[in-house]
Symmetry: C2
Subunit: 407 residues, 2 copies
């Protein structure tokens, strides 16, 4: 090792996912294979750890333990909700420069891609040779120009399995069931509930995504009609549903609105939306058995519900980021593109093309009714859920003639 070793830094930001550590380990192990890299640093708790110089030396970790960490959900380095402004990004750059870091790998969603872009700008302006790579991660699946984003398939699998079970439970003890799913602007994760359906009368019978305006009266009419048809009703609702003015339905009842650093109202970590909708169904439709669940943090952190396709791709976006940086000498954002049914490859997008933009569901994925998905969406999502999806079976009807016949 020379007097000034070549260092790279990797950080994780935003909400944890089931596979974000795969990307971390993909970076670390791939970087160790490159002669041009001597030390691999990790920032504790994302960009906050950078400005605090809170680094760990990942070069000193065993490859065996790294593999085990890769299979562990959440963010092994810790994460942060900080959304750096220009001054914050300038601080980040100063620290990277002081430590002689030559490659910055930032794993995260929209906000992380924007941070990566600003840091790259700062380095360019200072004439400091720094490669800045954004590695995609978000259960919301809302990065533009990406076929899908690592983390989403595993969360989608959790949602599909949860609704498959909720449907069976609801069929055993009929009533109305409302399951509230994460997703502020994009309905992909809520729509994944449709992949839990098998038989035509299975739930979810109604799916509400933020890509469509939510009208309470129409919702109640939908629930009433479904309940009359099936004697029960299973509903998937995005936490981000909103009225025609864009105001979240959840915000209309929360007394104390908590906002994060991005100015977003807190939608998760509260059962208020499910409880409101259940209350409306009970009081206005007179249905007695109405139950609501908010999937909350379980859908992104549950240990033991991972898509093997997702795990593999999350690993590869980390590996590819290092390869793009070392061989291509380019800044950019790694993206998954679909090349077969099912096969994927990776490309490097310009940071400006991805940063700060939000993808929502294509119209082609949402049924004209606005309360279901299309076959195009089912074909899009199914291969991402991976192998070994549990399946549900039912008894075939063989009714016995009545003897007393009083009922």
């Amino acid at each position: 090792m020379s007097a000034s070793p070549t260092k790279i830094l990797v950080a994780q930001g935003g909400g944890p996912t089931a596979v974000i550590n795969q990307s971390l380990v993909g970076v670390v192990l791939e970087a160790r294979r490159h002669r041009g890299i001597d030390l691999v640093y990790g920032a504790r708790h994302g960009v906050r750890g950078i400005v605090n110089e809170d680094f760990v030396d990942l070069t000193q970790e065993t490859s065996h333990n790294l593999e085990l960490v890769a299979g562990t959900p959440a963010a092994a380095l810790g994460s942060t909700r900080d959304k750096p402004d220009l001054a914050y990004c300038q601080e980040i750059f100063k620290v990277l420069q002081a430590h002689g870091i030559r490659h910055f790998f930032n794993i995260g969603g929209n906000d992380s891609s924007d941070t990566t872009r600003i840091v790259a700008d700062e380095a360019r302006r200072a004439g400091y040779a720094l490669r800045c790579l954004h590695i995609p991660k978000t259960i919301d699946n809302d990065l533009v120009l990406n076929d899908h984003t690592p983390g989403f398939p595993s969360a989608a699998r959790f949602v599909a399995q949860a609704f498959a079970g909720a449907n069976l439970d609801n069929a055993a003890l009929p009533g109305v069931y409302v399951g509230v799913v994460m997703g502020r602007h994009a309905g992909f994760l809520t729509a994944a509930s449709a992949l839990g359906k098998k038989f035509p009368d299975d739930g979810p019978h109604l799916i509400y995504v933020p890509e469509r305006v939510f009208e309470l009266d129409r919702f109640l009419a939908d629930v009433k009609a479904t309940h009359e048809r099936h004697g029960r009703c299973v509903i998937a609702v995005s936490e981000g549903i909103h009225d025609a003015s864009g105001r979240p339905i959840a915000a209309q009842l929360a007394k104390d609105l908590e906002q994060d650093a991005h100015g977003n109202v807190q939608l998760s970590g509260s059962g208020a939306l499910a409880d409101l909708l259940c209350q409306e169904i009970k009081s206005r439709l007179g249905i007695k058995r109405v139950r609501g669940d908010t999937f909350g943090y379980l859908q992104r952190s549950f240990v033991g519900c991972v898509s093997d396709v997702d795990a593999r791709e999350a690993r590869e976006v980390g590996e590819k980021a290092v390869q793009f940086a070392m061989w291509g000498d380019r800044d950019g954002s790694v993206a998954i593109k679909r090349t077969g049914f099912y096969s994927a490859d990776y490309e490097l997008l310009r940071l400006e093309a991805v940063a700060g933009k939000t993808r929502t569901m294509d119209d082609a994925f949402i049924a004209p009714s606005g309360t279901d998905v299309t076959d195009a969406f089912r074909l899009y999502l199914r291969p991402l859920l991976g192998s070994g999806m549990p399946d549900a079976f039912r008894l075939r009807p063989a009714p016995v003639p009545k003897v007393l016949g009083r009922a």
Copy 2:
């Protein structure tokens, strides 16, 4: 087959579980092996299906499909929340008699065992030869004289995996996390959260079960102390926590108390308790990031989280019920007894010994602090969770010296 074929009837009652269909299929397949049984009927939606003569002929189902149904959660025959009184049980008996049913197998919890007991009494009084067998099932694990009850281990596994993930998520983005778990009187399922811990500083850091009086001030002091020590706090709370007078904490805030046929206030299917506790922590401790999840129906119906030990035992209690009925010619309630570490056998208890009684956690399972479990509980529960439990790994510390050192 003779002119009057020998018929048996099987029914499922109460809350669905991940393995209740194993017991159903255990009864059906074992009964088919006995020469003394010609037809196996199933009642749709439990005791309600009996009084309505809503039967299906399970003898006409393929053994292959039965095996697939066995691996499907919830109640394939449908369930009910009806709690029959004497008149209702007399109706049940009349229908059984009219159909010439000679063996009644009732899969369920406390209420189902009591129904089975009353129906057996009616048959005895009428001089009608009817064998009545109760087959245990409850995620609450609250049947007396049972080492544990089928359904509980799989739900416990879900809770342990959920808290293992919630702990990782909370470590990545520190704050306070409250997870509310099912269990009105018995804290077994909430206590199962402790099995998600691996490292000494892992959560859940605090566990609140209904076997101990809940005091809000003491709770807040516990949370404050934990948050100061670890910089974060993961809490498992039973939905059944109550004050010194026995009044549920959840009931103190619910405006519209819904009661079921048993006179129980609805505790599940609402996020109110988690939201209340989060609000208290935020407002009185001044902690900013506080999140609450209510595990709701996911913990009992999630497709794809089953303990193989639980599945095996649920199958066997069904098989043993038929064997006890055919060879022992006795009424009773099948129970699991532990014979090794880990091995189980089955015995037939008197219906009177089990019916209508509620088991709660032994004092030996609860730490003196009242907010943790003991090693005795860990040894009790661990083998029930089954094989292939996911494991969590973390990076080992290797801090990098600061260069700027401003923080």
